[in-house]
């Protein structure tokens, strides 16, 4: 990264961590009916959109019905995957003890089996956020998203791979846990993989059957229009979630870390890393809901298990704390943040130099880069 890593003293880091803990405690103490009503309201809207969208496909041969149905179904899938699925699976609503909203059993309307997601996302990504070599969300194993990933000619296709990933994002996420790039690198642990593949195949087949066989047949003569509508809804959801998710950690200014500099982190340092590694999107209320409140990526990474609709109100406090400690708070509109992600994808398709010796080895910069957090550790 080109940005300077800001530094905090050990005391400042821990004091900052305590402030974050205090925000968390305050929200936990206040959690209750309001949050239950909110998520149930969203679930109700999503179900109505799904039932409405799928019913409108009966008249899919009429262009306005097709358009309305496809839009409703796209919104249903976006809400199901983001504001509901992603957040429920974080355990944000476990305290309600409603089996329909329990993080451990939730299954969503996308190809990725929920069980795999809980591992690769809740554990791997949220614990090791932006640590190169540990956080597999950095480029999803197929893209070069960091200068510290060693360049090779394969990465000339970076923009093409990114486009394909955006279009087929649900399948990219589904295959995420397979660590395909390691297959390429020739480290097959076949037993474990076979099991994963079986589960992905089963879930993927069910999803495809539902959208491309069952529901089209249910709409009778409209079947071809239903297939097209469902495909469009999946595509819309794919591109939208790709954009939101890539804006979470890859815009200019979001930091990456090495395994060395993050070994034996304290709680304060962990908060600090989450903050530096994440970026927010600014926008209106509906935009935030449709992004699953991942537009508040910073707050989400600080407090992954607080109900996401609270992030907006928390963000003012987090931002104020950042100003006091001189920590940059990365936020911007979708246009700007996504623009900078696209630029990065293109830039990193070519061999890059950060002006430091040995950069192409992808190793030597680490101690230099570590200095920022090393001060905090001291």
């Amino acid at each position: 990264m080109t940005t300077e890593t800001p530094t905090l003293t050990a005391e400042q880091t821990e004091a900052f961590g305590r402030e974050m803990d205090a925000i968390r405690e305050r929200v936990l103490a206040d959690r209750g009916e309001r949050d239950a009503d909110y998520i149930r309201g969203i679930v109700r809207i999503q179900r109505r959109l799904e039932v409405g969208g799928r019913s409108l496909m009966l008249f899919g041969f009429l262009p306005p019905a097709w358009l309305a149905g496809t839009t409703a179904l796209s919104l249903s899938k976006i809400l199901d995957n983001m504001e509901i699925g992603h957040n429920v699976m974080h355990g944000q609503y476990d305290w309600m003890r409603d089996p329909a909203l329990g993080g451990r059993d939730f299954e969503w309307d996308t190809a990725c089996p929920a069980e795999h997601w809980r591992h690769s996302h809740n554990y791997v990504h949220h614990t090791h956020t932006n640590i190169l070599g540990k956080d597999r969300d950095i480029g999803y194993g197929i893209l070069r998203m960091s200068e510290d990933q060693r360049w090779n000619p394969y990465y000339l296709g970076n923009p093409i791979y990114a486009t394909l990933l955006a279009l087929f994002f649900q399948w990219g996420v589904a295959l995420h846990d397979l660590e395909v790039e390691r297959l390429v690198e020739g480290q097959p642990e076949l037993g474990r993989r076979r099991d994963l593949i079986k589960k992905i195949w089963r879930k993927g087949r069910r999803q495809a059957f539902k959208d491309y066989v069952l529901h089209p047949l249910l709409t009778g003569p409209s079947a071809p229009f239903t297939v097209a509508g469902n495909a469009t809804a999946n595509l819309a959801r794919n591109v939208w979630s790709f954009m939101i998710i890539f804006c979470g950690h890859f815009p200019e200014g979001a930091h990456e870390f090495t395994e060395d500099e993050t070994a034996n982190e304290t709680r304060g340092q962990w908060y600090f890393r989450q903050l530096l590694g994440s970026a927010n999107l600014t926008g209106g209320r509906i935009f935030h809901v449709l992004s699953g409140n991942l537009s508040h990526q910073i707050e989400h990474h600080l407090f992954p298990d607080l109900p996401a609709h609270r992030y907006a109100e928390i963000s003012a406090e987090v931002r104020a704390a950042c100003e006091r400690y001189g920590i940059p708070y990365n936020a911007g509109p979708l246009r700007k943040q996504f623009g900078s992600v696209v630029k990065k994808i293109v830039r990193l398709s070519l061999p890059t130099h950060s002006g430091r010796e040995g950069d192409d080895e992808g190793v030597d910069r680490r101690p230099a880069k570590a200095s920022g957090v090393a001060v905090a550790t001291a």
């Binding site: 309001r34 109700r44 476990d94 329909a100 949220h126 614990t127």
Partner: protein
């Protein structure tokens, strides 16, 4: 599927069992009697069994077991009488908030506290306080089917005002010559009671005489059940005694308690003295292999059910309630006695 049917009608389900409150009465200062109309998915119950009732309070779903008090022969209704305990979140809420039209979650009936199909010649039904409900269901069922064997109903209450079903018991005893009502009041000086004080062998003799050929069903607080059990054990007649204890919630732990305490991992039946470390580590040291991820309270891979007892959250220092709830064992240490489903 049920989630989509909900959009149409709250009682339209294919799997879930729910109940609509159709009548609410408050017979004594502490209790509330609810009549529920269950969904068609309800498979009925047998007198003496219990159901899990779920209600939502402050956005949180709470589940408790209650024994229907209604007759088996009334299949489209369930009658539950709930007694409010000073620390009972659910019972307090139902006592004050229950109203007609309210929807509650239900389970199918469970339990083997049952009178056999071939009804015994002599029956003694003993209950204390709110423990009256399952034996009330038995009495009503026996009366409905015209059972003519001897049935003695021995009920303990503090006094007449606290006696649930007082009037109906009197009526059933009057209408059915084979049914005899024996009331015992533990508070001295009340009228209308045949016996005074807590259960003794003398009470037993007064109620049924020789009890060697009597099948006995007891439900009530531990003190009553223990006292009855001791007499039957002395006489070597325990095979004729059937017990149902209702357990009051474990009292909330004092946060100032030392970190010590005992842990029971209930699924693997491992007991240990707490060493003050997170439950996940203690489970691992005991040879269990629970799932885990971040080990710092973020990912919830290790989330498991706490059946009872309190834990302290290492991040905030707050002590949990003592009820049944999900916890993150990687950041929870036991406070006092804790039962965890691992």
């Amino acid at each position: 599927m049920d989630h989509y049917l909900e959009l149409l009608h709250p009682r339209a389900t294919v799997q879930a069992v729910r109940g609509e409150v159709t009548d609410v009465r408050r017979p004594t200062p502490q209790s509330v009697t609810l009549t529920l109309r269950p969904t068609d998915t309800w498979r009925g119950f047998r007198a003496g069994q219990h159901v899990n009732l779920s209600v939502e309070i402050g956005g949180v779903r709470h589940t408790r077991s209650y024994s229907p008090a209604s007759s088996e022969y009334v299949s489209d209704q369930i009658e539950l009488t709930v007694t409010a305990h000073p620390e009972g979140t659910v019972s307090q809420d139902l006592r004050s908030q229950a109203r007609e039209g309210m929807l509650v979650g239900l389970s199918q009936a469970e339990g083997d506290f049952l009178v056999p199909e071939r009804r015994p010649e002599r029956l003694l039904l003993v209950s204390g306080g709110s423990g009256i409900t399952p034996v009330m269901a038995m009495l009503r069922t026996l009366c409905d089917e015209g059972h003519d064997g001897e049935v003695v109903f021995l009920h303990y209450a503090r006094g007449a005002p606290e006696t649930i079903y007082a009037r109906e018991l009197k009526r059933l005893a009057r209408e059915h010559p084979n049914v005899r009502l024996v009331r015992a009041h533990t508070r001295p000086g009340g009228p209308e009671a045949e016996l005074a004080g807590h259960f003794t062998r003398a009470h037993l003799t007064a109620a049924v005489g020789d009890h060697s050929d009597v099948e006995t069903y007891v439900c009530g607080p531990s003190s009553l059940v223990d006292a009855v059990q001791a007499v039957w054990a002395e006489d070597g007649l325990e095979q004729h005694l059937h017990l149902e204890r209702f357990t009051l919630p474990i009292a909330s732990a004092d946060p100032a308690d030392a970190e010590g305490g005992r842990v029971l991992f209930s699924s693997s039946d491992v007991r240990l003295e707490s060493d003050g470390r997170p439950l996940l580590e203690q489970a691992e040291r005991a040879g269990l292999t629970p799932a885990y991820g971040c080990r710092m309270g973020i990912c919830r891979t290790c989330t498991c059910r706490k059946v009872g007892g309190a834990v302290r959250d290492l991040r905030s220092g707050t002590v949990s309630s003592s009820g049944d709830e999900e916890i993150q064992p990687c950041v929870s240490v036991p406070v006092g006695e804790v039962i965890v489903d691992l």
